[in-house]
């Protein structure tokens, strides 16, 4: 029996190769192929500026796929991975989504990192009834019929972070962010939260994306002497910001700073010495002590090398594949509408702990944590929230 199965699988993959090589004969073998494998699209920027943040997500997704395949696949079918490069260019994301849905006929896509790329693919998803799992923390304000959002939206991390910060000593906050939608939304949520807790916002600054000169902002911080800096500076600017803070005598030992965008992966680039002592608020940290997480980290290091670190978005990318698998098995179908309907209320035992897809809004309820950067680039977890319900449309 098993011999027969393996053989027919080999035949099917043989015809799959033939079909992809010669587009003309795609018609007949493809239906034969569909009986044996199911396609999952991975769409991230492997080149261009955003590849810094995005390329590593593919590794986590591939690992999840390999694990699932080794354990027998999804409803008995092996997952066939189709990887596309969005090239940090939003129209390319839309085009590749179209290609994945129309030509490859993938059952679902795990992909996108920036909100801009996600917004670009939404119309394509809606036209072609395609399903997207979006693995990045983001600003909320969205709920698309064809998207599942398994990461934390802004209220989940920002409100918990500010509440925790206010509970420590200090009541004055200085907000610094890159000038685009995520930081501005986060700060819109942060300011009333600070006020509600009896604190004051003593400064709010935005720098253009890619900005590398922070000396003036650092002087403003020195003049305002805040107890806390809340940072949503992203990308290469982050590196410059941390380095210059430290050089100006506001290192992690002298100034309290919390960021909702710095994970272990970012610390790699910032430099461990520059980040030590600063805080981050994330859903996941590599240092979470639980058998599930230790197994996950061990498997990842075995696959990609002992030096590899894993941050929040990578872990969520890994969860995305499992959430899709569970939804398919619950729906007993690969049909997108049925999978979406089955997603509501799904619970996954993820490396970060239990996460649960909301009944209606496609986001997940989960815990967030605050970590303090250690000299080795990992975080000491100093706070863990309760389960937080997602609220993508807060009243601001």
């Amino acid at each position: 029996m098993s011999k027969f199965n393996r053989r027919s699988f080999l035949q099917a993959s043989g015809s799959a190769i033939a079909a992809s090589a010669i587009p003309g004969i795609g018609l007949l073998p493809q239906s034969a192929l569909a009986a044996e494998t199911v396609k999952l699209g991975l769409l991230h920027s492997l080149s261009g500026t955003i590849a810094i943040a995005e390329a590593s997500l593919v590794d986590a997704e591939k690992m999840a796929i390999d694990e699932i395949n080794a354990a027998g696949g999804v409803m008995g079918r092996q997952i066939e991975t189709v990887i596309e490069d969005g090239a940090s260019d939003w129209p390319t994301f839309a085009e590749k989504t179209k290609k994945l849905l129309q030509r490859d006929k993938v059952a679902a896509i795990v992909g996108c990192y920036t909100s801009a790329s996600r917004k670009a693919v939404l119309p394509v998803l809606n036209q072609n009834k395609g399903l997207l799992y979006y693995p990045t923390y983001y600003e909320g304000q969205e709920q698309d019929k064809y998207v599942i959002y398994p990461s934390q939206e802004a209220t989940q991390s920002v409100i918990s972070a500010i509440e925790w910060m206010a509970k420590q000593q200090g009541k004055t906050f200085f907000l610094v962010g890159s000038d685009y939608i995520y930081p501005r939304t986060c700060n819109k949520i942060a300011k009333p939260t600070v006020a509600r807790l009896g604190g004051t916002t003593v400064g709010e600054e935005y720098v253009p994306l890619g900005h590398t000169e922070f000396s003036s902002i650092i002087n403003k911080i020195k003049a305002a002497k805040p107890d806390w800096i809340y940072s949503t500076v992203v990308g290469g600017s982050n590196v410059a910001f941390y380095k210059q803070l430290k050089a100006a005598g506001l290192g992690g030992d002298k100034q309290k700073l919390l960021s909702t965008v710095v994970s272990e992966n970012e610390i790699d680039g910032i430099g461990k010495d520059n980040a030590v002592g600063y805080y981050a608020c994330m859903g996941y940290f590599q240092s979470i002590k639980s058998p599930r997480n230790e197994k996950f980290v061990k498997a990842l290091k075995a696959k990609y090398g002992q030096d590899r670190v894993v941050g929040d978005p990578m872990q969520v990318a890994y969860n995305c594949v499992y959430l899709w698998k569970m939804a398919v098995e619950k729906a007993k179908s690969f049909d997108v509408d049925k999978v979406i309907a089955a997603s509501a209320g799904l619970e996954l035992d993820a490396p970060e702990g239990k996460i649960k897809v909301h009944a209606t809004n496609h986001h997940v309820s989960k815990r967030v944590r605050v970590g303090k950067a250690r000299p080795d680039g990992q975080f000491d977890i100093v706070f863990e929230s309760g389960i937080i319900e997602p609220n993508p449309f807060p009243k601001l």
């Binding site: 080149s47 810094i52 902002i217 002087n219 020195k222 410059a240 790699d268 430099g271």
Partner: protein
């Protein structure tokens, strides 16, 4: 604004000034003197940054005792690597486009994309982190409340050295004389026996080498990733164009003006608005003085 903050702001202006000059000097030579629009100039800086990274790796592995001084060696290494690369680039690529400025723009832009992707393939898409040098960490505190970051003081000193070096090289040596002669009148220089091909290559390589130094130094204050160069190249072009093409003095002066206005405006308004104001100022000045603040008259 308290006195301490004022002093630190003035210092920031000076620091940004030297950073802009260091960035723009190489471009000032390549674009300003030679007239080559090199869109890949930023990637030459990135090359310098990665050369610095590799040097630090080498020191960490073989000379851990001298780790504190790797940066000094790295600056020299970065200059040499980008100089050689620039030389090869000019001979193998740029020189075929001398009479087609628009094609140069496209070709070097393509080259910059190729280089970025090459860095991504070789070093990975993630940023690389460079070790801190202990004697450049922290700040000098002449008076209580005034902290002047040591790495910025180092950059100021280095830029002064480099600027003097470039001045001496261009205005006090035979090689500099030849390169200025070729810039001013290629046909005549050729007629009096100057090997213009060779002068082109060395001048371009010098510009590239300066970009390498800038790249090496910026690892201290910014990030090192395949796209790093993109962050600096626009500012470099603005400084050079604003100062007046073909005038290195103009480049320095415009660097000073832009740096001081930027730090002042950044303090008074938000970072984004400061940037907008600077660009508006540049546009206004270029509207009334199309060839920049200081334009030297060149016979066409």
């Amino acid at each position: 604004m308290s006195f301490e903050i004022f002093v630190m702001q003035v210092f920031n202006g000076l620091s940004l000034f030297t950073i802009l000059v260091l960035m723009a000097l190489g471009l000032g030579i390549v674009f300003g003197l030679m007239g080559v629009i090199n869109m890949a100039h930023g990637e030459l800086m990135t090359l310098g940054a990665y050369a610095t990274y590799l040097t630090s790796q080498f020191f960490a592995m073989h000379l851990p005792a001298l780790m504190d001084y790797y940066l000094i060696v790295a600056i020299v290494v970065a200059f040499c690597v980008t100089y050689v690369f620039g030389y090869a680039l000019e001979r193998g690529f740029v020189r075929w486009f001398y009479k087609r400025p628009l094609d140069t723009l496209l070709a070097t832009w393509g080259l910059s994309l190729i280089l970025q992707q090459a860095y991504r393939t070789i070093f990975g898409a993630q940023e690389v982190s460079l070790p801190l040098t202990s004697w450049l960490t922290g700040a000098w505190e002449p008076v209580e409340g005034i902290q002047l970051p040591l790495n910025r003081i180092f950059i100021i000193g280095l830029t002064i050295l480099v600027a003097i070096g470039v001045y001496l090289l261009l205005y006090k040596t035979r090689a500099g004389l030849r390169s200025r002669a070729v810039t001013q009148n290629r046909a005549m220089s050729s007629a009096v026996g100057i090997n213009t091909d060779r002068v082109d290559a060395t001048t371009f390589a010098l510009g590239a080498g300066l970009a390498g130094i800038a790249g090496a130094v910026f690892t201290m204050i910014g990030s090192t990733n395949p796209g790093t160069g993109q962050l600096y190249v626009i500012d470099s072009f603005i400084v050079v164009v604003f100062g007046g093409v073909a005038s290195l003095f103009g480049t320095v002066a415009s660097g000073f003006l832009i740096a001081q206005s930027q730090t002042t405006l950044e303090y008074l308004m938000s970072g984004s608005m400061a940037k907008v104001s600077i660009l508006l100022m540049v546009i206004l000045v270029l509207y009334f003085r199309p060839s920049g603040l200081f334009s030297s008259k060149v016979r066409s």
